[in-house]
Symmetry: D2
Subunit: 315 residues, 4 copies
């Protein structure tokens, strides 16, 4: 991640003046109490399910996850290694000659491909969501706190903001999505800022998917995305998940060269909002689906930092 920072961290910086994320801000205890480990998945209530169902008009569904393959761009040293049994794993057994095949996967399962960042993935220094100290979380075989097993399933309203439609072209690396952009894009879709409310999932389509597998180096480099302003605006709106068709969802590099992934901290660490990366927003954009039911039951790996992002949109 170092390449995205052109200035070394200096402890003396006045955070209040720069408007940056600060460990000094009053971001804990969380809005769900000091013992919470589920973040805004706590907002998933029967009422939201009922509201979201009204958005399923055609009865269509679409997977928001791209195929997981060894060709995917992987960040840093991460791996995605599937090893099939090649031949049969076993059999034939019985008069019925049952045979079978397996495959073994080694991967940062929640941090490769279309992925869903859990609450233990990102911290501010040695503090994580709800102010939990890193040392209380560390675990050699999975985190002791904030693992994926605490997250509740999602069935809620999803909103797509199609930046390609708004801009008239796919976005470029390093281009920031501002609050004004969001409002403009929503207007273009016949919607308004009021279309986004508490408990909603907001997905940004930037067109970045065009580099997926085709040019993995570019894909993993500078990307378009939301900045600090939009991140805070969304947090204030009460959204539960922010998604995009890029690897970090937020703009990289941050326009403030002293900041490294500040939106991750605003969303995950300070507000318990989840981030859904490398999402297949192109499938919704192609159908001009801007409001839909977002349905997702993350993989509950005990102590896991994330989950594959195989959510479903129904519309």
């Amino acid at each position: 991640m170092k390449r995205y920072l052109s200035v070394a961290a200096t402890g003396a910086l006045v955070f209040a003046m720069s408007g940056a994320v600060s460990a000094e801000d009053k971001w804990y205890p969380s809005q769900f109490g000091k013992d919470d480990q589920a973040g805004r998945s706590n907002l998933m209530t029967p009422d939201r399910v009922k509201s979201a169902m009204k958005l399923i008009k055609q009865g269509k569904t679409v997977s928001l996850a791209r195929t997981y393959s060894s060709k995917m761009p992987l960040f840093g040293h991460r791996v995605f290694a599937v090893r099939g049994t090649g031949g049969l794993a076993g059999g034939p057994l019985g008069d019925n000659k049952v045979t079978w095949m397996d495959d073994t996967l080694t991967a940062e399962i929640g941090q490769v491909g279309t992925q869903f960042d859990g609450l233990g993935h990102i911290g501010i220094g040695d503090k994580f969501y709800n102010g939990i100290p890193a040392k209380d979380i560390f675990g050699a075989t999975g985190m002791k706190k904030l693992g994926m097993e605490h997250i509740k399933p999602f069935f809620t309203k999803g909103v797509l903001i199609d930046m390609v439609l708004y801009k008239g072209a796919p976005m470029d690396g390093g281009q920031e999505i501002t609050v004004a952009d969001m409002e403009g894009a929503l207007k273009k879709q016949g919607m308004s800022a009021d279309s986004i409310g508490e408990g909603d999932v907001v997905m940004f389509h930037t067109g970045w998917v065009r580099h997926w597998i085709k040019d993995n180096k570019t894909y993993n480099g500078a990307v378009p995305g939301i900045g600090i302003e939009a991140g805070r605006w969304l947090a204030k709106k009460g959204v539960v998940i922010v998604a995009s068709d890029t690897w970090p969802v937020e703009v990289v590099p941050n326009p403030n060269p002293k900041m490294a992934f500040p939106v991750h901290q605003i969303l995950i660490t300070q507000n318990g909002i989840f981030i859904h990366e490398n999402a297949a927003t192109e499938r919704l954009a192609a159908e001009k689906v801007y409001e839909f039911a977002y349905i997702f039951n993350p993989l509950a790996v005990e102590g896991g930092t994330g989950s594959p992002g195989n959510a479903l949109a129904a519309y």
Copy 2:
């Protein structure tokens, strides 16, 4: 799997007489054509989504997957090894001091814990779903055909058959669920065989979950489940997924000692029906939820033999 077979396979057996699965049966090409790789996920249509939505009355959701942990019973030589970064994976970076943690998983990702068997998992001798020869499928880094990337998302009616309610007690290992049992159990729930139709998911609650983690050796041994008769009956009904709270869904050992996992072959290989194992049916049974929307977007691992079974029930 050998321990479940008390008689060695003999090629001379007359399959027609024993009523067993046979490679000679006319089970391919599949009902979806000779090129199909999606099985009965092809039955997922907008109409079924709309019908299933009517079953979501309370707006509640429940995960059908148990937590994935190293304590889970694993079959045979399978592994589930999560390795957290223990300390920070990286950071702090920037004035905002971003820090992060990851974890790496090595596992037969689609064949451990609550799992979902794909079409390439089970064969009849050297033939797999749609009559595809094993040699055309074999792949050292994932299967060349029948991988999970071909499966369409599920949003359809789910039916729970609570055998514990019907029998008055949790079932025992080796106990077969017959068609009569199914009909009796449905009647007890105020339903009938007509409650099950094309495109439905049928889940059996046997109470076997009582051994999960508490006694993994027993859990992985002989189990209650459906036999050949019920398997064929369900296939004929047009179901798309059969699930249970046991590791193989079907009865083990099969009452016919010459048969090894014949129901897997009837469902997966011959009919393109998926099997959802170690499902958390106890959560539905506890709420007396017998009809619900079953929603699931399997993990599309290219060439994968299965997926984690983190489906969602909404009711």
Copy 3:
């Protein structure tokens, strides 16, 4: 490891009086200087090679490593998962029809089976070999210091101490090997304490191998081995490696119930001596080979905490 401790740690204990390992002892900087990361492998000199060669009289060699298989006893949550390509990994290619097979291993490669503990494996609180703070070593993809790439190859004198021969029977779990035992056993072999000198490898045969694979639970439980006294005696003698046919080499549980693996700390952390566990000492004992050339080039995994222990004895 908790089960081996019957008394909770208390900071108030007077280490000097109990004779226990203490972070307060003057054990760093190391005898090889404050920057050393190679420990006593630094003692491997041409002279020792020449001396050791004189012990190769018959021209025979024997592997000191047991076969690595999935049947091995593994400590705690460790894994050893080999996944073969099952069928061909590739080919046939060319007119010569070349075909090939691979296999993938997931394992704590230096901490399973016959293994060799490196200098970063064991610490005293947050201090490791040479007083290096844990925080300077931690690395999500391997240790930043003290990795196996720093260790020099071994070609030196090896001494087997056959405790089974001395005691007349295989040793029991929890039985301590004292300095008197060592001297007695050496005498029985026609040797003396002077047979052990600087740069030597000392291997203890306890007969514990009798439980290997046959009873893995017992194998991984309480074991015979050297205690604090013998550990210090060996360290003072200048040995470079201590080995045994048990999983921890040292006696477990320690006779002092407040101590957990203190000999690991004396050898590795305080003295830079390596520990060779689950070594196939039975092969030397069977041949009554008590002095031999010990030859080993550990696997130089960058940042690795250990190596497989596939050393060779030549005699």
Copy 4:
């Protein structure tokens, strides 16, 4: 491997005329009998140990393996993923506050970095060493035959052939080492073809190491190495291992465009000779060490296709 073949395989080719490897040749049963699984490691006798010892004059040792790191060039889809515990794996325990760290490796352990090809790695169509059919070897958790557990330790004479010294410059990709080259290079070193005999290890230094890590794409491409003629000459001489500082040891692409890795087949499959790839021959060349004791105890992974190549040279 496909890129190294410019002509598609045609079954009709007359092997006898092209001088190519052929499954029709009389290469099995092996010289060690029809049941042998150890290949030419069977030639390791006490006499060879005694002879090799005479080559250890200075008492120096050098590792023939390069450091194993994530920066290494990896062939095809292979992985090398070390995951350290990052923080402590456990502890502190006891009054002595023992703490520990581990690391987990996922890799084609015998097929990455400095590596040693076993007898099951390469076949001729569906036949492997000793004529064993592929179907008798296939195993989802390791090969059923020809695994590394059958190989005997090596302690024998090693000969370095320094092609860089001979040619006056590092060799180029695709450059073949012929028998005449070998004889010329040996002469330059004051030796002759008679310096190589039964039971010897022959290592070629080509200078290819110059691309290691610095330019992995080039490293994994076309390389200098021995061709079919030299391979057969070495096999006839009775050598047990052939090594080089390149990934395949043999010349790639083969000058005969219809051949893919034919020398692998001549050495491994037809003659039971092992191949030691990516060997650190530069260390011997730098010291002008042309004859030495080659000492190696391969990692006995049950059913493994290869081993890390952490052999030792003593001189």
